[in-house]
């Protein structure tokens, strides 16, 4: 009698890239899984609904991949109050925005994870959010008659995350705490791909199951330095000048932005090709201490 072995969930980069399709509702974790985000741009996907923030969201909008944005924050931190491509596309009516905030977004994601049509939330009562997002319904709760917001389930087709480590079976370990929204996105999503710095043994995972942050991601891709220009806790810090360069180029919206998208996102076929363009010296300088 032949016993079948447990299937690996470790897949190659191009196979992972082929999971990405036009028109999907795609959720992007924090720090953004930039290697997978660059594959979206490289493949020139269209009509995406993107749950995301900051540079990753802005890059996808600048590349023409996005039709609808579900975002609680589309800024770039100090000095970049509003992400430039997001601002232009929103003001020009080229993208639709599903206006929300953190508590509303996580309520919708939790409703999806729990298989409920909606979950109630208080944050946002009294604000303009239910006026400008007609999917948010003001309800009178049946217990105390309080006014609350019913947030409909938000169901990503695919969630893309970056984490420190995983074994071959999708047991994922974030270092120093997961990005705040990663677990919400994973639980709500039909499927999840996690790109990781390092593949570790199943024995390592079993030695301390408390540290497993996601048990059973659908696919795992090995992408060292895969969050660049963002940080990956336990591995490297943010490449601040690179992020600034993107936002400066995006603000001007000219040849420099086009060059940035072409040189860093469209031309490199693989993550390795991208890292060659960044250069080993620059990457090694991003050490944590």
């Amino acid at each position: 009698m032949a016993f079948e072995r447990r299937h690996t969930r470790l897949i190659e980069e191009i196979a992972a890239s082929n999971w990405l399709e036009d028109g999907m509702t795609m959720a992007i974790g924090e720090p953004a899984p930039m290697a997978m985000v660059r594959h979206i741009v490289r493949r020139g996907l269209r009509n995406l609904t993107v749950i995301g923030t900051g540079l990753a969201l802005d890059l996808l909008i600048a590349s023409g991949c996005v039709r609808k944005v579900i975002s609680y924050y589309a800024g770039g931190g100090l000095g970049v109050p509003v992400a430039p491509a997001f601002r232009r596309a929103a003001e020009a009516g080229e993208i639709e925005t599903w206006e929300c905030e953190e508590g509303i977004l996580t309520s919708g994601l939790e409703a999806a994870g729990k298989g409920l049509p909606y979950l109630p939330w208080r944050g946002g009562v009294g604000t303009s959010l239910p006026d400008i997002n007609p999917d948010l319904k003001l309800i009178s709760d049946p217990i105390n008659g309080e006014t609350l917001i019913a947030v409909p389930a938000i169901k990503p087709d695919l969630t893309l995350l970056h984490a420190a480590e995983s074994d071959a079976y999708g047991n994922v370990r974030h270092c120093d705490g997961p990005g705040w929204i990663d677990l919400f996105l994973h639980r709500a999503s039909a499927r999840t791909i996690v790109q990781v710095e390092k593949i570790i043994s199943n024995e390592d995972i079993r030695s301390n199951p408390w540290t497993t942050t996601i048990g059973g991601a659908d696919a795992v891709v090995r992408m060292p330095y895969g969050a660049h220009p963002f940080y990956s806790r336990g591995y490297y810090v943010q490449d601040v000048p690179f992020v600034q360069d993107y936002f400066s180029a995006a603000m001007v919206n000219g040849a420099e932005l086009l060059h940035f998208l072409t040189y860093y996102c469209r031309e490199p076929e693989t993550h390795g090709d991208y890292l060659e363009r960044i250069g080993i010296k620059r990457l090694l300088a991003l050490n944590e201490y």
């Binding site: 720090p31 975002s71 609680y72 924050y73 589309a74 800024g75 931190g77 100090l78 000095g79 109050p81 509003v82 992400a83 997001f86 601002r87 929103a90 003001e91 009516g93 925005t97 206006e99 929300c100 905030e101 953190e102 508590g103 509303i104 996580t106 939330w121 208080r122 944050g123 946002g124 009562v125 009294g126 604000t127 303009s128 959010l129 400008i132 309080e146 006014t147 270092c175 120093d176 705490g177 997961p178 990005g179 705040w180 990663d182 677990l183 919400f184 639980r187 942050t213 963002f230 940080y231 806790r233 336990g234 810090v237 943010q238 601040v240 000048p241 992020v243 600034q244 944590e288």
Partner: protein, 274 residues
């Protein structure tokens, strides 16, 4: 002895004095003045305060330096965490946020402390200026014990009679029971602080009122840069100046690169790379 400091340093010291030992102080992204203020208070008089930076909860009163993070929220910030509130549970204990203090900015602020991070324009589908979005401010301001509105500039474009859109409710249409009527458990906005002055909200009407003018600023400066009528008390004092000790701690142990001192002119890439 005269004390010279930038308006941002004055704002940070004023805020720091508002925090009581044992409180939980939560700061989001892009608000350097509150970031400096909570660190300063923690060092000066708050050894039992808890600082919450994007879900990393920490007490770091034992550290010699608490430099402002001019970088992403990577390990240099979270290495001091005692717990991560974010493991998929960010808002699962809002019932306990009565001792938590929070800070917000805004594109627009109205006389009752309602604020707008969504955008400017009559028609939501055709905004003249698209803002960054509400972040977590609606939920945070619904539940925290109190919050402060902290702005980097004071103009009539920001202080408007009515916000085009409201992302956080302050005192709604006014009145001490305004928040209770909406079922919002948190204590609402206490101060609105700008580079020109400190404002608070009147006890009954909850309308914005001038509390103090920063040194060198006139009543006329404030009124001509505010797009609605502020309540003006009979006597308007000058905002309390930092002590020498406060300023020394702020400059040498918190704002080590002089971001506040320079009036928020961004430090160079080399400096923030550190």
């Amino acid at each position: 002895m005269t004390i010279e400091c930038s308006p941002q340093e004055l704002m940070a010291v004023f805020l720091a004095r508002d925090f009581v030992d044992g409180e939980h102080l939560q700061v989001g992204v892009g608000l350097p003045v509150p970031e400096a203020a909570v660190r300063l208070a923690h060092m000066m008089h708050g050894p039992n305060m808890e600082l919450v930076f994007l879900g990393a909860r920490m007490n770091v009163a034992h550290l010699e330096y608490l430099p402002l993070p001019a970088f992403g929220w990577d390990r240099r910030v979270v290495r001091w965490a005692e717990s991560f509130s974010d493991r998929g549970h960010r808002f699962d204990q809002v019932k306990d946020w009565s001792r938590r203090v929070f800070f917000i900015g805004g594109i627009q602020v109205d006389p009752y402390g309602n604020t707008n991070l969504i955008g400017v324009g009559d028609d939501y589908r055709q905004l003249k200026f698209r803002g960054p979005g509400s972040v977590g401010t609606p939920t945070l301001t619904t539940h925290v014990g109190r919050y402060h509105i902290v702005l980097n500039s004071h103009t009539a474009r920001t202080f408007v009679p009515r916000c085009d859109f409201i992302s956080t409710i302050g005192w709604n249409d006014g009145g001490a029971d305004a928040r209770k009527k909406l079922g919002l458990p948190g204590g609402g906005p206490k101060y609105c602080i700008t580079p020109l002055c400190v404002m608070d909200f009147s006890e009954d009407e909850k309308r914005m009122r001038l509390r103090s003018l920063h040194p060198g600023v006139t009543l006329q400066d404030v009124q001509s840069n505010t797009g609605f009528e502020l309540l003006i008390p009979d006597e308007v004092p000058v905002t309390e100046l930092p002590t020498k000790e406060e300023l020394t701690v702020l400059r040498t142990r918190v704002d080590c690169h002089g971001l506040l001192r320079s009036g928020l002119n961004r430090p160079s890439a080399e400096v923030i790379r550190e």
